[in-house]
């Protein structure tokens, strides 16, 4: 019975967060803790010729300065540094040798009695470099970009372009109406509020407890074991709370390596907290140049889609995601072709950032669809409906569910789309040009194997344990809701234990897969608890549940109840007390069914209103409606917050965000949140989130996940609204006022 699932339950960890009781990686203290400050390279490429530590070491309170020359032993092979989600290539090894591969690369760690002393001494480390020529501008590497290699494994295959469908070149040439456009998205950074940090507690026997900011405690644990040749039982990684990560915490980051290096070198507990500028080399959304070509029939149906992408990666790893395939998935089109090339630059490797690939691909595709609608003289929403795809055309499969049509309908109604004048520059509000734009969003509904342990006490309290993370998304809350409903207990009787590598197995928290995976994992384990309770209940003399099969009972209101006859029940307390059992513990693995007969996706429709000052070009996003089809919504409050956050970020992507590199020095010049602009409150106005009903049976609870879908398509909806307001099509983000030149 669903008392909690589907309700706007407030965060169960909210009180701990607002009172400061929730501790983050840099907040765990032990006696004798010392502090590391990172020294970073000032050149983008070359070698360290000489590193002078003398001035730093002379500072009172400095304990040591670690460099590639004096660090403790680390693994010497790439395999050791390949974490669970590493791309192909040779992963970066912090303080491994004197090579410099990107500006801002960590090259030394100063360890001192206080963080202030460490930071001061770090400023005294003097480095001479032998510099090589670097390239950091994607436009300079455009011609040298290399096609993706054929996939080496099934994971890579997910990220390489799908096979060509039909004959796209010929179909394009023969199309009644064509549109071609090149779209650019700059490098963007995650900028979570919490600084990346690790506190490594050194136990007397050399065992380590590592408090780390990460989206995957077990990924970090396995990585540290390989890099430092430690046994799993000697490294425990904890991350009970994470102040945002958005993908930047999927891979183990260098601060945890440096902190462990120092703890092992000094045999004491060490904390390393990165500065905000230092976080700009932890990974980023890769810049990309995308060419979209669309060919349509006169009736507004699509006949050809071609999507070419050039995306940025580092010199040492080939990071790429499925940039191009979204175009062939979203709309019905018999002919589709894709190309994807990598531009290798002297920068750190990019990484996943909220809805990686879909966010950028859909900006390009949905801008192009808007341009096609103009060329066809067709309403942009009507064009989407005429191109609506009922099947995944990559593999010619039906969708497990797809309520996108309903997203369009409800979103358009809530927005008032039918009052839109199709002419650009036709709508006004006093001195402002008004523009209405829309776009579609799509993401995957993924599930991963996960293991959950539940311990039920005779007093009706349950502990749920899993090594997953809550990166601020609300995992604690939805896990408690699901457990309460599955166990038939009040929410306050559930405690959630997560973010600890010693707990049952979990994948990293990413890809929007945790909600579906862990919820069904809880349900699976709760079934085992129910079965055990039933076994005990049947042993009671005159048990009202004798002769009843396990599938015939349910847990509700603290009791095992016959589904067929609610008067037949045994309380949890009675069943356990009678059997003299204080505690029932079950640990089960949820293995999602590998349903290859259907495609699994979430969808959205976004409608945006902008008002643009005609003389100056200042853009205000006055209204956004986001209608989401993402299966069953576990918690309408935290889910709405997720989507709101995605829309806000989409506004930032459309209008503000851009990492600025000085290509002469190969260095990021706005590596702080004063100059790297994200939206502030003044930029955000009315945002309405709608969840459309979308029953789905891909998993027992019907969950699809929605961490990613909220951002996808938003930038295009805004760019399309800006076009509608001004008649000016901006194809390179962000849309700053100088690009309008009204």
């Amino acid at each position: 019975m669903a008392h909690y699932i589907g309700t706007p339950t407030s965060r169960v960890d909210g009180f701990a967060k607002v009172t400061g009781a929730a501790k983050y990686a840099a907040e765990f203290n032990v006696p004798g803790l010392v502090y590391g400050s990172v020294v970073t390279s000032t050149i983008a490429k070359g070698r360290i010729a000489r590193i002078d530590l003398s001035a730093a070491l002379r500072v009172e309170g400095v304990l040591d300065v670690l460099t590639h020359e004096n660090r403790p032993t680390m693994a010497d092979n790439d395999q050791a540094y390949k974490d669970d989600v590493a791309p192909a290539g040779s992963p970066f090894r912090p303080l491994y040798d004197g090579r410099i591969m990107f500006s801002g690369q960590p090259i030394a760690l100063v360890v001192a009695q206080t963080s202030e002393i460490a930071r001061f001494a770090a400023s005294l480390v003097r480095v001479d470099y032998e510099t090589d020529t670097h390239i950091t501008d994607v436009h300079c590497q455009r011609e040298a970009a290399i096609p993706l290699k054929p996939p080496g494994d099934p994971i890579e295959a997910m990220f390489t372009p799908p096979k060509t469908r039909g004959r796209p070149e010929q179909a394009l040439a023969a199309a009644a109406v064509r549109h071609a456009g090149e779209y650019y998205v700059p490098i963007e950074h995650h900028n979570p509020m919490e600084l990346f940090a690790s506190t490594v507690i050194y136990d007397g026997d050399g065992k380590l407890t590592v408090y780390d900011k990460t989206q995957g405690v077990q990924n970090v644990q396995h990585y540290l074991c390989r890099v430092f040749g430690m046994k799993p039982e000697d490294v425990r990684v904890m991350s009970p709370f994470v102040g945002g990560a958005f993908g930047s915490g999927l891979r183990p980051q260098f601060q945890v390596v440096l902190a462990v290096l120092a703890a092992r070198a000094l045999r004491r507990s060490v904390r390393v907290v990165l500065t905000r500028p230092q976080m700009y080399v932890l990974g980023y959304r890769p810049a990309m140049i995308q060419l979209i070509e669309l060919g349509a029939n006169a009736d507004g149906t699509l006949d050809a889609i071609m999507h070419d992408a050039i995306t940025v990666t580092s010199r040492y790893e080939d990071f790429f995601r499925q940039e191009t395939g979204w175009s062939g998935l979203l709309y019905k089109c018999a002919n589709a072709g894709y190309k994807h090339k990598l531009a290798r630059l002297d920068l750190a490797t990019p990484c996943d950032m909220r809805a990686p690939s879909a966010t950028t691909a859909l900006f390009a595709l949905e801008s192009a669809m808007d341009e096609l609608a103009v060329a066809l003289n067709l309403d942009p929403l009507e064009l989407r409906l005429r191109c609506y795809s009922e099947r995944d055309q990559h593999n010619d499969l039906p969708f497990s569910s797809k309520a996108l049509r309903e997203c369009y309908r409800q979103g358009a109604t809530a927005f008032g789309w039918d009052k839109r004048n199709p002419e650009a520059r036709s709508m006004r509000d006093a001195g402002d040009l008004v523009g209405w734009g829309m776009a579609t969003g799509v993401w995957e509904a993924l599930q991963m194997p996960i293991t959950v342990r539940i311990a039920l006490s005779a007093n009706g309290h349950a502990e749920v344990a899993c090594a997953t993370s809550d990166i601020g998304t609300g995992s604690y809350t939805i896990m408690a809701q699901v457990a309460a409903d599955m166990l038939g207990l009040p929410l306050e009787n559930i405690s959630i234990n997560l973010g600890d590598s010693s707990l049952p197995q979990s994948p990293v928290e990413g890809g929007s897969w945790i909600a579906a995976s862990v919820s069904n994992g809880i349900a699976t384990t709760a079934d085992a608890i129910r079965d055990e309770l039933l076994r005990l209940a049947k042993q009671m003399p005159g048990s009202p549940l004798a002769n009843i099969a396990s599938g015939e009972v349910t847990l509700a209101d603290g009791k095992l109840i016959s589904k067929g006859d609610a008067s037949r029940s045994v309380s949890i307390t009675d069943a356990m007390r009678h059997a003299a059992v204080d505690r029932i513990e079950q640990e089960k693995t949820y293995n999602p069914s590998n349903d290859v007969t259907r495609a699994h996706n979430t969808h959205s429709a976004i409608f945006a209103e902008v008002k643009v000052d005609e003389q100056i070009g200042v853009i205000r996003v006055t209204r956004v409606v986001s209608a989401i089809a993402a299966g069953r919504i576990l918690n309408t409050k935290t889910a709405s917050s997720q989507i709101l956050g995605g829309v806000v970020w989409g506004i930032g992507m459309a209008l503000h965000e851009e990492t600025l590199i000085d290509h002469k020095v190969g260095r990021i010049m706005n590596a702080n949140i004063a100059e790297y602009h994200v939206p502030v409150n003044a930029d955000i106005h009315d945002i309405k989130v709608i969840f459309v009903d979308e029953p789905d049976d891909s998993n027992p609870l019907g969950i699809k996940g929605l961490g990613e879908i909220g951002i996808v398509g938003v930038a295009a909806a805004i760019a399309n609204a800006v076009y509608h307001a001004t008649g000016k099509r901006v194809r390179d983000l962000p849309i700053t006022l100088d690009k309008l030149r009204l």
Binding site: T42, G431, H656, K664, R667, M669
Partner: protein
């Protein structure tokens, strides 16, 4: 951040005595800029003298009909001061256009005058910057220069002054009262900040050993026809691409007196007597305003990323003059441009 000594000054005489002869000492008041720069290793004072206890927190009427603002009056207190709101609303508006509420609660009047540029190369000690290290070169001229100057720059520096408040003070022709061990003097606002020339390391004409004690506003406040229009890359909490402060005196639709000052375009708040002269005696209309903008921008020069600012400044000048002429000053809470 370097190690530094901390000292507290008890009064102005104590403050100037402590700083005299110590070229590596700095005063700290709100600390909203100095502390950041110390963390970035840009400012490296060996001694920081806390002046927050000095008796410079009063806003007083002057015998001549003006207003004297103590150097330690906080931005927020000044912006909400009844005399400022009533008589010098362009100053209140400019202050509210800057920073955030939390920063305005800390930032002092004197410190606002001494804000250093936000040029990204000035902040990054890994790159050359003539302002930070004389003779090292200007990275911005051939680098990232979206935020940089279009007027009054030199081959040595194209940085801009970041303050909003100072643009209004330039318009109001404020006077800066300073003290030192050798006595007191008054600096006209136009003479306070410098152009970069060959000495971009010097932002102002404040001498070593001097402390700002007050900013004095003359009686004329342009309380009827004024505006402060600030245009930036997001709607709040960003430095100006271009800002314009305007004060007009109208007789019907004829401009009797006029001043306007620009922020975000130069190493100091930018006023141009010729541009203002082009307005006096003329009708307050779009054509007049466009003429004045053309005069002010006649020598404007852009770089790779900021050439758009010339056209933007032209449009902002016209718009701001129109706002002032119509008596519809820009609201700093509603982001719709008036």
């Amino acid at each position: 951040m370097i190690s530094f000594r901390y000292a507290r000054a008890n009064d102005v005489a104590d403050a100037v005595r402590q700083i005299a002869g110590d070229p590596d000492a700095k005063f700290v008041a709100g600390g909203t800029n100095l502390i950041d720069l110390m963390k970035m290793d840009v400012e490296r004072p060996t001694k920081v003298i806390d002046i927050t206890r000095l008796p410079l927190k009063q806003v007083e009427n002057t015998p001549g009909g003006g207003l004297r603002i103590g150097a330690l009056v906080r931005n927020s207190d000044l912006a909400y001061h009844p005399q400022v709101e009533a008589r010098y609303p362009v100053l209140a508006s400019a202050i509210m256009a800057g920073a955030s509420q939390q920063l305005r609660n800390m930032a002092s009047t004197g410190g606002d005058l001494l804000q250093r540029t936000r040029c990204c190369y000035f902040y990054d000690t890994a790159t050359p910057c003539n302002k930070r290290e004389r003779g090292s070169g200007c990275s911005a001229i051939a680098g990232q220069n979206r935020m940089h100057a279009i007027l009054g720059a030199s081959d040595a520096c194209i940085a801009t002054h970041p303050s909003d408040m100072c643009v209004a003070l330039a318009l109001l022709e404020a006077k800066v009262h300073v003290s030192s061990a050798s006595g007191d003097r008054v600096i006209a606002f136009a003479e306070f900040h410098r152009l970069p020339g060959e000495t971009p390391e010097r932002d102002t004409n404040l001498d070593a050993g001097e402390i700002i004690t007050a900013v004095e506003l003359p009686p004329k406040g342009f309380a009827t026809n004024y505006t402060y229009l600030k245009i930036r890359d997001r709607l709040s909490y960003a430095f100006a691409l271009v800002s314009v402060a305007v004060g007009l005196e109208l007789d019907g639709d004829t401009i009797n007196d006029c001043r306007f000052a620009l922020g975000g375009v130069a190493h100091k708040p930018w006023r141009d007597p010729r541009a203002e002269a082009a307005l006096r005696g003329r009708r307050a209309n779009a054509a007049t305003f466009a003429d004045a903008a053309d005069v002010l921008l006649r020598d404007a020069k852009g770089y790779a990323h900021n050439t758009f600012k010339i056209d933007l400044a032209r449009r902002c000048i016209s718009r701001a003059l129109m706002q002032a002429a119509r008596g519809t000053p820009q609201s700093q809470s509603s982001k719709k441009i008036a």
